[in-house]
């Protein structure tokens, strides 16, 4: 009907006009660079690396039913060396010291499946977000749920702790702050996104919260914005959803953020000024970022179209290594408590462990 309308309308009720001299064409030889989105071809690896990085996973674990959804955060690793991972309707705890597997729970129905897991800063409490809008707290040692916090209207895909405050981001576009010590837990609402919140991270010093959403926004919140409900900075540089967020552990107020398919960039921010201090086009969807604890490096994981992990030097952003092996996009990353090993979880339903970083010996000075 639309075509017929166009043809008829066009002739009967309107004039179709165009300017006689046309727009200039693109420069001779120009080739659409969006081709990178559609091919898995590897254009060439890292130019130079200052050290050796093992290119194969040290260990591979099966992760059946891992939900292949960019917007969720299903993997976390805590200071007692426990790894939590949500698979289908279940949450598992894998003890990285003993390799012991513990099935924490299975949701009652598919509707209530876990959509986010996050360990409390210290201790063995795990926050779990669910597809039916709940935020739960589990005592992993006793293997029981100790709280269920309701209020969101849609799935909770992002969680982050700041001591006794747990922040939760939801598809309902809201971020809630919960004081988990209080019966009346809901102590704040942050309203700065117009679509699903899928990235959420408190800064290590607990003074700022970074949030990213499917509205392509990166928001930075400080204590004042918690009371006004408006972000301290609203950063609009990414052209796709912002899920990958990571605060630098050795330089205050330095944040890395990664954009989705239409963006593909990692950006670095000075969160005191809101200035973008560095950008690199990774040429594929950025799913997750982890900084090294001890060296000036970071790791990013990617989806379309290369499904790889990249090790970068900071701030030069020279590529140190590309780690391949996953056959589907690498949705989540977590760092071991000793800072040496990255765990990656991918849509191919495997967890892979990569010995990427050096240990504590080479600690860099702060502020560096």
């Amino acid at each position: 009907a639309t075509l017929a309308n166009e043809l008829l309308d066009g002739k009967t009720s309107s004039k179709i006009l165009s300017f006689k001299s046309k727009a200039p064409s693109a420069p001779e030889g120009y080739q659409n660079n969006l081709r990178v989105l559609y091919t898995n071809n590897n254009a060439g690896g890292p130019r130079k690396a200052s050290r050796h990085i093992a290119q194969t996973a040290e260990r591979i674990l099966d992760a059946p039913e891992l939900v292949d959804d960019y917007y969720l955060n299903l993997l976390d690793w805590n200071s007692s060396n426990l790894l939590s991972i949500a698979l289908g309707q279940s949450v598992y705890i894998w003890n990285a010291t003993t390799s012991e597997i513990n099935h924490l729970f299975e949701s009652e129905n598919a509707e209530a499946h876990p959509t986010a897991v996050s360990w409390v800063n210290e201790g063995n409490f795990l926050a779990v977000g669910t597809n039916n809008a709940e935020v739960q707290i589990w005592d992993v040692e006793k293997q029981r749920q100790i709280r269920s916090m309701k209020g969101h209207l849609a799935r909770v895909g992002a969680l982050s702790w700041n001591n006794h405050v747990l922040s939760s981001g939801s598809r309902d576009t809201m971020i809630f702050n919960h004081d988990v010590r209080l019966a009346d837990h809901h102590i704040g609402t942050l309203q700065g996104h117009s679509e699903e919140v899928c990235g959420l991270k408190w800064s290590p010093d607990g003074t700022q919260l970074a949030s990213g959403g499917n509205d392509n926004l990166l928001n930075i919140w400080d204590s004042e914005s918690v009371s006004t409900g408006r972000p301290q900075f609203q950063l609009t540089h990414h052209n796709a959803a912002v899920k990958a967020l990571a605060w630098c552990p050795w330089q205050r107020h330095l944040l890395a953020s990664g954009g989705g398919t239409a963006d593909r960039c990692i950006r670095f921010w000075n969160t005191m000024t809101g200035a973008c201090v560095n950008t690199i086009d990774t040429k594929s969807q950025v799913c997750s970022i982890q900084w090294s604890k001890h060296s000036k490096e970071l790791v990013s994981s990617h989806g379309f179209s290369q499904n790889q992990l990249c090790v970068w030097k900071y701030p030069t952003m020279t590529k140190q290594a590309e780690l391949t092996g996953h056959t589907s996009r690498v949705l989540h990353l977590a760092l071991s408590p000793d800072g040496t090993t990255i765990c990656s979880a991918a849509g191919d339903e495997t967890l892979r462990f990569w010995k990427v970083f050096e240990g504590e010996a080479r600690t860099v000075g702060s502020g560096g």
Partner: protein
């Protein structure tokens, strides 16, 4: 045909949709993301819901019934497979289908210079990390020798890898063999040469600027670091 779909139907899941070269059918996207329920998402050919399983079986049945032109069925089958798993699936599921069809007809004279067959080869080459062997194989077998697409796709891969001289040779070979559409191939070659000139000018300017970079241009072999021994231990 005149069905109108809304981008809002799948915008909330935009990051779960892998772009594909020929574009996606909005009806399929709407169907895939109509349920706001990520567990329900189809993830692999092994767990297709019944109506999709049926569709897949029907393609297989058609292929089994010795059709006169199996390629026509394959083209539709692959197109369907690319769309049915919006996020690309567990193991790039299309890859196995593409492997099947490309292998199956490699000796079939009918398809040697069939645009459809070559397009499937190129689709396959897009999905692997290093497609060089594929193009060498096709060249040796004389598959796609008369088609411009063969030379365009091969040269593009070489160009991306920084092997510009070889890329130029590939275009020239295609022109010598009078591959069709000939005008298009010549135009592509010309565009390529323009890029080379621009690249050389850019490089020269850059060298002037930072008075020769100390890093060696070592694009040609991609990953040259030795890998540690594999320790794949499938524990669970």
């Amino acid at each position: 045909m005149s069905n109108v779909f809304e981008l809002s139907d799948w915008e909330g899941s935009k990051e779960n949709i892998q772009p594909i070269k020929k574009g996606r059918n909005p009806a399929n996207l709407k169907e895939a993301f109509s349920q706001n329920h990520s567990l329900a998402q189809v993830h692999s050919f092994d767990n297709l819901p019944p109506h999709l399983k049926q569709k897949m079986d029907s393609f297989e049945n058609q292929l089994n019934n010795s059709p006169s032109d199996p390629m026509a069925i394959w083209v539709r089958y692959i197109a369907w497979a690319q769309e049915v798993l919006p996020s690309g699936g567990k193991k790039a599921e299309c890859l196995s289908l593409l492997e099947r069809v490309t292998r199956e007809f490699k000796d079939d004279e009918r398809y040697k210079n069939d645009q459809r067959y070559l397009t499937l080869w190129v689709t396959y080459a897009d999905l692997v990390a290093d497609p060089m062997d594929i193009f060498v194989f096709l060249n040796n077998r004389e598959i796609g020798h008369k088609l411009s697409l063969f030379y365009e796709a091969w040269a593009l891969v070489l160009e991306t890898k920084g092997q510009h001289a070889q890329a130029d040779k590939v275009y020239e070979q295609g022109i010598r063999r009078h591959a069709e559409p000939y005008e298009r191939l010549k135009a592509r070659h010309q565009q390529f040469q323009h890029r080379m000139v621009q690249r050389m000018q850019r490089d020269a300017a850059r060298r002037m600027q930072d008075n020769l970079s100390q890093e060696p241009q070592n694009n040609e072999n991609s990953l040259n670091r030795a890998a540690l021994g594999k320790l794949p231990s499938n524990k669970r």
